[in-house]
Amino acid sequence: MVRPTIGAARGLLVALLLAGCAGPQELATTEAGLRLAADEAEARLRASGRVVRDPELDAYLRRVLCRIVGERCAEFRLYVLDQPGFNAAAWPNGVIEIRKGALLRLENEAQLALVLGHEAIHYQNRHVAQLWGRAEQAVGVGALVGTVLGLRPIGEAMGVLAALSYSRDMEREADRLGLERLAAAGYDPNEAPRLWAALLEEKARIGDSGQLAFLSTHPTDAERIAELRAGAARLPVPVSADPTGRAAYRAATARRRGAWLAAELRARSFAASEILLDRLRAAEPESGELLFFAGELRRLRDGPGDAEAALALYEKARGRPDTPVEVWRSTGLVALRLGRRAAAKDALATYLARAPTAPDRALIEQMLEDQDRP
């Protein structure tokens, strides 16, 4: 089948606008044009390297989505994007995207269900179509699709995201229905105000940035959180051993968390990563993996006092069962930075002993030989 291009869809929209005020039929045609633009964007997204290919994770997310939206689940296609930071969004053609960075920040299955359910409501109640229609008039389909695909420079994209912001009434409607669906699906509705409050707190600490694109499109303030708290209080908390689904969420994501954290740090939004790691470590203070990544944050940031702090964190991490073997490599690199040659040599030798097939083996061996030179 030959699909009209984005340009054709845009041309259709422009023609509609030039034709005068849109009546109901024209509005429906506009939505059809947007759906085509979204289909085009989806095809590009699927072909890109930005979608995480993980059938096991996809199946888990789909189960949660279907639990929260019920029999209309088949209307949606879900994509996990290989991007840091918190964002999730619905498109006018039934796509729901969620970033790896959001999965890293969610604490339990109830929060995941909340986010997916919230986006599904925006789609089902035609908020998305209204929003994209408005944004298309403001910025054009090209800018819209570029932003949706995460391909625009961040400053430019923030402007487009502002045009893609849901109204307070849309959010209120999605919140009310979202709470009801959360409770009906057997999740604790109190996780809704908890999640939004945590995002708002993170924004207060780091300000507007691509790390919290979700809040650019979903305006949130203290009043909204108060309304969510009041709404949740009117609903029953399910009677179960784990009404938030924390254990299930951890089981589905634990194996992937290290790679997600590594990617998050590589984005070098250190303030946001520090808040994230502090929160995760508060819940799991004994985790060697989290201690290691807290050290990595300081090694990569390399600010005043960071090298010493990184070494202290690596030392705490070593010997714990879930600590990555790279802790020895990082210990060696930071010790070298501080001029502690003996400690560096011990750590790098341990790294090679424990990771005999490491891709940087030859270079580390060379570094060890260099330490023996006078």
Binding site: A47, R50, D82, G146, P153, I154, A267, P359, D360
Partner: protein
Amino acid sequence: MRKLPLFLVLVALLAGCELGPQGPVLVSPGPVAAGRLAVQTDVAWTQMPSKPPRRLWTVYGPLLDLVVLVDGLEEGQQLFSSEASAGTPVAFRAAATGAELGEFVLDSLRREGASAVSLDSLRPVAFAGGEGVRAEFRLRDDRGVAKRGFAVARVIDGRLFMILFVAAEDHYFPSLAPAVERIVESARIV
């Protein structure tokens, strides 16, 4: 007018390229002085407009193959000059170890939108008359095209000299890698 494919723009930015009025120029086979980095090439390249200390060469177009010659990047400078990402820039540290240079190259590529970036090997090599480091890697560009590449680098007097090659894994990498290897072998600092 149809916009330039995004990755083309990205690649141009990636090499610090200024899309100004000057067009591409032919680099003929023979000796070439890229600033202090002198090399010998036995194939012809197209040099795209570029901003020192970076030079950008391609045979089939930057969507398919790309060589970046870096002639003395200074402390605190970025390898590529795009501002496409939020967060702290990936800056060159003159005191970086070879292992950290490898991280610098890969993080710079990630920051420009490459995904699934993985390190195949990182090892010491002779480069431009001294001890350098070589990183071999794989990635996917933003159109999902699988690519392979390598970077050979050396720090001299606090400045980074480097030759980076990245090309589509199918056909273009194996086709051009031998020519780039010969450029790397010929490199010297003048």
